[in-house]
């Protein structure tokens, strides 16, 4: 009976199914496990599924002042980082895509430096410098380290989007009598917006999730959500850790769902390669 079913499916389908199953198991298994844990009341060892469900751990986690403080701090930092990144990087992206200026190629490629070195090595180097200039354990220091993490994507992705706007369309708007600023605001910007949105979301999320750099320069006063999580991995019961994990992942899932229209392999790849 079963073999007949498989024959009808064909080997191609079977291979596809096996790949799909492996994919789900390996990449989503740990996440599904966390989701189950977060809503379980009792889940003792040999059982493959929780024995009872409950929300008690949510109440526990949401009543910890340390955790609530970290959520507020994380969002504050992420918002400041995203806003500053947009202010610093989007004009630069526009300049790279549309203006001719001396050494532009050198400037463009200098951004590769942010990715040409391993993160932890760079953070140690930055921490050594921060010690000397007094930026250790300051809000500004944490913000700076978050901005520099995404400086390249934040410049390259919007630059690729600005480039993909046809000059002819801008020219047409100008010929119809619109000033340069109006052309930018009404023609160029809306067409480049998907790229800018993807880059901004990327920046926001990476700031929200950043742990290593903050761990180096922000301890002990700037404990963001991921840093609390470092402690929670060791100190909290698994269920409480799982609840906190979901709280930490929730913004990511919501933002990705809202922006799923814009997120594609092509747009994201433009942050890492020149096309």
């Amino acid at each position: 009976m079963l073999s007949w079913y498989f024959k009808r499916l064909g080997s191609r389908k079977i291979i596809e199914f096996i790949i799909f199953a492996l994919f789900i198991f390996f990449f989503l298994g740990p996440l599904i496990n966390l989701a189950l844990l977060a809503f379980s009341g009792k889940w003792q060892f040999p059982a493959a599924l929780p024995q009872s469900w409950s929300l008690t751990w949510w109440k526990y986690v949401l009543s910890q002042p340390e955790i609530l403080k970290s959520i507020g701090l994380s969002f504050l930092i992420a918002i400041v980082v995203t806003a500053l990144s947009i202010i610093i990087c989007v004009p630069a992206a526009y300049a790279f895509a549309r203006l001719r200026f001396p050494l532009s190629r050198w400037f463009l490629f200098s951004f590769l430096l942010t990715n040409a070195f391993p993160k932890m090595g760079l953070y140690v180097a930055i921490a050594v410098l921060f010690f000397k200039v007094g930026l250790m354990n300051t809000f500004m220091g944490v913000v700076l380290i978050h901005i520099v993490n995404t400086l390249m994507y934040m410049t390259w992705i919007p630059a690729a989007s600005f480039k993909s706007v046809h000059k002819a369309q801008e020219e047409a708007a100008r010929d119809a009598g619109a000033g340069p600023l109006r052309v930018f605001w009404n023609v160029t910007l809306p067409m480049a917006l998907p790229g800018i949105i993807v880059a901004s979301i990327f920046t926001f999320l990476s700031s929200l999730d950043e742990a290593q750099g903050t761990f180096m320069v922000g301890m002990p006063d700037y404990k963001t959500m991921p840093l609390i999580m470092y402690g929670a991995v060791q100190d909290y019961p698994a269920t409480a850790g799982a609840v906190f994990s979901i709280l930490l992942t929730l913004p990511t899932i919501i933002l990705l769902f809202v922006s799923r229209r814009f997120v594609s392999a092509d747009v994201m790849s433009s942050g890492f390669t020149m096309k």
């Binding site: 630069a92 203006l99 590769l112 942010t114 070195f117 932890m120 761990f215 390669t273």
Partner: protein, 297 residues
């Protein structure tokens, strides 16, 4: 920025090619002005720290020039073990990631099935999951009393193998973190290969293997290099997973460095370690930057 400064009259707007008329100068100044803030940030956050850490790594506690930090790095048995461990893990992880990601990308490019479409939708997720959370998920999944151990118990009585706090666990974490990203870069490159090219190769009698090695692989090779660079960089500098699920000895360089800096306050040794890492990666980074610069022109 006022609109006036930007607005050239109709006559000066026409000659688009000439660079050094008044419009060209304005563009140059404006362009530089727009780029300078991010460049200064880069200078302060990347270039200066690297110079500082080179300086720091060559200075002893007494403030005098010394090579002791490097000597320690390459002669201390624990440190030597750390370095070899990190290099080994980096090579094995990167090769596995690239091979699996390439296979996945090829599968996604040429499969038309429904399940492939689902994978296409879902494989972004790991890229956006905070690394701490993913590591925590891995702990709860593969731990001694983890989910997998519980499920396996229903099929076999054999004791569950040790994954966490071991080489295997770090390899697994590296695969989890890097495959989706590499697959994304590669599938973006593969989707750029027109079907028509492949069809026409088929028409003149090329077999599947020939098509792969003559067309698909060469056309996606550059993206492969980019992916390789980022994967190597990510693995060698990884911290979160090794910090939480790595063995205590030998340690991955990222963790060893953080310990030297934050626990033992050995800034010199930590800096020497960082400089050593930069040296390895500037080799990889050099090829990446050169490759990108060629692409631009």
């Amino acid at each position: 920025m006022s609109g006036q400064g930007l607005s050239p009259s109709l006559e000066t707007r026409k000659p688009l090619k000439s660079t050094w008329n008044s419009r060209g100068v304005k563009h140059s100044a404006l362009g530089l002005l727009m780029v300078i803030p991010s460049f200064l940030l880069l200078l302060f956050m990347i270039v200066v720290p690297i110079v500082t850490s080179i300086q720091e790594s060559l200075t002893g506690n007494d403030g005098q020039f010394t090579r002791d930090n490097y000597k320690y790095l390459f002669t201390d048995p624990a440190m030597k073990a750390n370095i070899m461990y990190t290099l080994n893990l980096t090579v094995v992880s990167s090769v596995s990631v690239l091979v699996i990601a390439y296979l996945l990308a090829v599968f996604l490019r040429f499969s038309t099935g429904k399940l492939a479409k689902w994978i296409e939708k879902l494989y972004y997720i790991p890229m956006f999951i905070p690394s701490v959370i993913a590591t925590y998920g891995i702990i709860n999944m593969y731990g001694n009393h983890g989910w997998l151990a519980r499920i396996m118990l229903h099929f076999t009585d054999a004791p569950f193998m040790k994954v966490l706090y071991d080489y295997k666990g770090l390899l697994l974490a590296n695969l989890w973190f890097n495959i989706p990203f590499a697959a994304m870069l590669l599938s973006s490159a593969l989707s750029g290969i027109p079907n028509a090219v492949i069809e026409s190769a088929k028409d003149i009698g090329a077999g599947k293997i020939q098509i792969f090695f003559r067309i698909i692989f060469p056309l996606s090779f550059k993206s492969m290099l980019v992916a390789a660079t980022f994967v190597v960089m990510g693995v060698i500098g990884s911290f979160t997973a090794p910090f939480l699920i790595g063995p205590n000895a030998p340690q991955v360089l990222g963790v060893a460095m953080q310990q030297q800096f934050s626990v033992y306050f050995e800034t010199g040794i930590a800096s020497a370690c960082a400089v050593f890492m930069f040296a390895i990666c500037s080799l990889v980074g050099y090829f990446y930057i050169r490759n990108m610069m060629k692409e631009e022109r």
